[in-house]
Amino acid sequence: MIDFADVAMRLFENMYYLVSVILFVIGFHTMLTHSNLIKKVIGMNIMDTAIFLFFVSTGYVQGGVAPIIEPGVEQAYINPLPTALILTGIVVAVSVTAFALSLVVKIYEHYGTLDAEEIMRIRSTES
């Protein structure tokens, strides 16, 4: 017998993980099912953001503050490593997004549409 109150409590305690998984699925779904190329790029960004949220929340310590150490102050700090890594991850995601958008511009120039299905149709009628 599953204790629903207990499950709900545990989900609430791990809210960051729950939310990031939900966001991941939303992004993944958007990326794979929408035929508009810009929406695909947006979906990719949502997915990446979800992963970043997940990674950062692994380093969170209850009640911790940003790890800027001042002499004479004793308090809990969060784990700075995931944050530093995710900064790199964000940079990478930005560059991937920029590259993807520039490709979208090129595709629009060549095909005159942003719809993936329309592009498939144009290509199949050509060849």
């Binding site: 940003a66 800027i68 560059s95 520039s102 511009v105 629009y108 120039e109």
Partner: protein
């Protein structure tokens, strides 16, 4: 965009944004932020300038060519700073043992190679943002011809 208000406001605001960008870059080893955040601020000030005035005047301040060169030089600077460690007989990217000036923690000039790397990468990120902007806008321009 031929709007007087936008032009006047951006003329006033751009220097402050740039100073703030340099502030964030230079304090990268002391406070949150650093090369990426500061570089993005610095780069976006150039984009604001180019958008508020026109592209020609923006390109006169920082042309596409220059920003590409600064971008590559910034990345090369990082690699060269790493090679300094090897030159001093230590491993690649070694900081303190390679003889960089460490200073006292909390000072502006401290932390050895980190502040130099941050400065180089800040300029690199700024020029990357500008280069991306120019590249995208030039592609757009080709399409309408």
């Amino acid at each position: 965009m031929e709007d007087l208000i936008v032009r006047m406001v951006s003329r006033i605001v751009v220097p402050f944004i740039q100073v703030y960008g340099f502030y964030v870059i230079l304090h990268g080893h002391l406070t949150p932020g650093g090369s990426f955040s500061g570089g993005a601020i610095l780069g976006s000030s150039m984009i604001l300038f180019a958008l508020a005035f026109n592209l020609e005047r923006g390109a006169k301040k920082l042309s596409h060519e220059t920003s590409t060169i600064v971008e590559c030089a910034g990345a090369g600077w990082f690699a060269i700073l790493g090679l300094v460690g090897i030159y001093m007989g230590q491993n690649f990217l070694t900081n303190k043992e390679a003889g960089f000036y460490m200073g006292a923690p909390g000072d502006l000039v401290s932390s050895g190679a980190i502040v130099l790397i941050t400065l180089g990468l800040g300029l690199k990120v700024a020029s990357t943002v500008v280069t991306l902007f120019y590249s995208l806008i030039e592609v757009e321009g080709d399409a309408h011809d």
